[in-house]
């Protein structure tokens, strides 16, 4: 969005450039926000990838099924654990399922939309990023939509199913605020994960084989959030609250909904900070992205 200012701010070029050349070109879209432009680009490219995967229908069906089965097995681990114990860190199976479902659904949403960001390093290495840089569309949108795969719906579906199960077994004293907090939590959570994906992508401009570092934060992060904060050491909980604020994805708002005590004796209102934290994370990730892209364009591959 900051890019827009830079581009439109130099609008003086529009007039002078239209002398001889533009007669052949066509009217350039003015004042369209970079965000809208990015979303449009994303939609166009994602659609192309969906159609590409549909060229191999059987393979698509198999990977979708495999993806779903793989993530489903993940929850089975937790079920097995509860066949031995009644409580985990003071949480019942339903309450853990609630945390698990929220974290998994938020992460699934991000994985679906930005799951290919870790391929950026490869694109930088083999130089195919250049073909994206000569298009009149935001690079971030093009990279994010790269290899868009509907098979990633598997994880989101599994998360939502576990969440649905949790809602039927856990006793929650619902209030309008709590109902409203549910979708806000999912979207903010996805945005917080998303900013980690984008920042990780930005880092790959500098270190092209850093995709595993990014994965440890994203996949590692979601696994962490699937368990109650009470089972982890205080230092770790502090880290994911104040340094990499993953605690705002589900822990804090979910504990408010469940009516359970917060970790680290945080005040009750911190449960509502998730959207603000998400916006702050996205802004930081955006800055990191711009810095990464700038370093690519000044050093090359």
């Amino acid at each position: 969005m900051a890019d827009l200012k830079e581009r439109d701010g130099s609008g003086s070029g529009f007039g002078s450039g239209s002398g001889s050349g533009v007669g052949r070109g066509f009217v350039l879209p003015h004042g369209r926000s970079r965000l809208v432009d990015g979303l449009r680009t994303y939609r166009l490219i994602a659609w192309m990838w969906i159609r590409s995967t549909m060229a191999y229908r059987a393979s698509f069906a198999m990977t979708l099924l495999g993806n779903f089965a793989g993530t489903a097995l993940d929850f089975v681990t937790i079920l097995l654990m509860f066949s031995r114990v009644d409580e985990l860190g003071g949480y019942s199976l339903g309450q853990v399922a609630f945390l698990y479902g929220l974290s998994s659904a938020a992460f699934g949403l991000t994985d679906l939309t930005l799951g290919s960001m870790d391929r950026l390093g490869k694109r930088v290495r083999d130089g195919t990023l250049d073909t994206l840089l000569v298009r009149p569309a935001p690079v971030l949108a093009q990279v994010a939509a790269d290899r868009f795969a509907l098979r990633r719906l598997g994880r989101l579906t599994q998360g939502l199913l576990v969440l649905g199960y949790a809602l039927t077994v856990v006793d929650i004293a619902w209030t309008p605020v709590k109902v409203l907090l549910m979708p806000v939590m999912l979207v903010s959570g996805a945005a917080i994960f998303g900013s980690v994906f984008v920042a990780g992508g930005a880092f790959q401009f500098v270190a092209q084989d850093a995709s595993q570092v990014q994965n440890s934060f994203t996949y590692g992060g979601t696994t962490l959030l699937q368990y109650p904060p009470t089972v982890f050491a205080k230092e770790l909980v502090r880290g994911v609250t104040f340094v990499l604020p993953l605690a705002f994805v589900n822990w804090l708002p979910a504990l408010y909904v469940l009516g359970l005590p917060y970790p680290l004796d945080l005040p009750a209102w911190t449960a509502f900070l998730s959207p603000l934290v998400a916006v702050a994370c996205c802004a930081l990730a955006g800055l990191a992205w711009r810095a990464g892209l700038r370093s690519y364009r000044s050093t090359g591959s």
Partner: protein
């Protein structure tokens, strides 16, 4: 500051109007880190492009040649806005490429010879539809341009074929069409004929010549194949070690480089070396003889004389290769 340096050059306003591409002392310095041990590295500056200046007028067709690693693609990357120059002044169609990359993208077309921008698993036409929407090309203009490209590049039968099933030559033609649907004013081609068979080469060259002649599209192409340049470009620029070594007509390059073409002659039987004043025999192998003659000179009179005086069976002409021309040119500069 930008506008001042523009008008400050002695070329004057009229010439500036025509100069679609203008480079003024453009350089690109890379910081190369070399590992010298565990966690230790040495930093070294590499000047990939060292103070290059040239202009390309609207409607020109220019060959940009040089050995690998000479700075060709770095220059192209700066001209397309992919890379930011470390120094100097650069304008394409009045736009500073690195600062307004997206705006410039609508006015240029780029074909990377080795990397297709087409969608591998989808029919060719789908890639064009994406261009249509991504570049926001008006429907009528898109239809017109697509029809023209399909006709001239003979893509009609290929539109519904998935790109992965196309041959290299077909794909290259497809890529060129994709780069032209939005009516770019400049077309950059990076090795457009690499790996193509003779028929495809001819078709691509013919198309580019027409494009330049009829639409006035400015074309800048890098190539290893001197015959590309010979058949397409009146002007050629040679870059080596990041410096512009030569800028002028191809014939001049041959003169400076004292390059020679080779005539390979198959005679009816083994004969002593052919004696002619305009060529010298460099090799004899049974009935086959290799004759070198200046590249700037026509082969026709030479062939006529050999045919008249010797029992000729077959012959072919070999072009000088670019590396040889450049290295000879380089040696010349060093001694003078």
């Amino acid at each position: 500051m930008d506008t001042h340096t523009d008008t400050g050059s002695s070329a004057g306003a009229a010439a500036d109007e025509d100069a679609l591409i203008r480079l003024d002392g453009v350089e690109k310095v890379f910081d190369v880190r070399k590992k010298t041990g565990f966690l230790r590295s040495e930093r070294r500056e590499v000047r990939a492009v060292d103070s290059i200046s040239f202009t390309v007028a609207r409607g020109e067709m220019v060959g940009y040649i040089g050995p690998n690693g000479a700075g060709k693609s770095t220059t192209i990357k700066m001209l397309t806005g992919i890379l930011t120059p470390s120094g100097g002044h650069l304008r394409v169609a009045g736009i500073d490429p690195s600062r307004e990359r997206t705006r410039l993208a609508r006015r240029i077309g780029v074909v990377f010879g080795q990397r297709t921008t087409l969608w591998w698993d989808l029919p060719l036409i789908d890639s064009y539809k994406l261009m249509h929407r991504m570049y926001r090309i008006p429907d009528a203009r898109y239809a017109e341009n697509l029809d023209r490209c399909v006709e001239l590049l003979e893509l009609g039968a290929l539109l519904d074929v998935p790109v992965r099933q196309l041959s290299l030559g077909q794909r290259m033609r497809g890529d060129i069409a994709a780069a032209l649907l939005h009516d770019p004013e400049v077309l950059y081609l990076d090795e457009p004929t690499i790996g193509l068979d003779v028929v495809s080469k001819v078709r691509v060259r013919e198309f580019l010549r027409d494009l330049n002649a009829e639409r006035g599209t400015t074309v800048l192409l890098t190539t290893h194949d001197l015959s590309d340049i010979e058949q397409l470009c009146r002007r050629v620029m040679v870059i080596d070690h990041g410096r512009l070594m030569y800028d002028g007509p191809l014939t001049g390059l041959h003169e400076i480089g004292e390059s020679e073409r080779t005539l390979v002659v198959d005679l009816e039987r083994e004969l002593p070396p052919i004696r002619l004043e305009s060529a010298r025999v460099v090799k004899v192998e049974g009935p086959r003889q290799w004759l070198a003659f200046p590249a700037a000179q026509s082969a026709a009179p030479l062939v006529a004389r050999i045919a008249a005086e010797y029992p000729l069976v077959d012959l072919s002409v070999r072009e000088p290769d670019i590396e040889a021309v450049i290295s000879r040119m380089y040696a010349e500069k060093a001694t003078s």
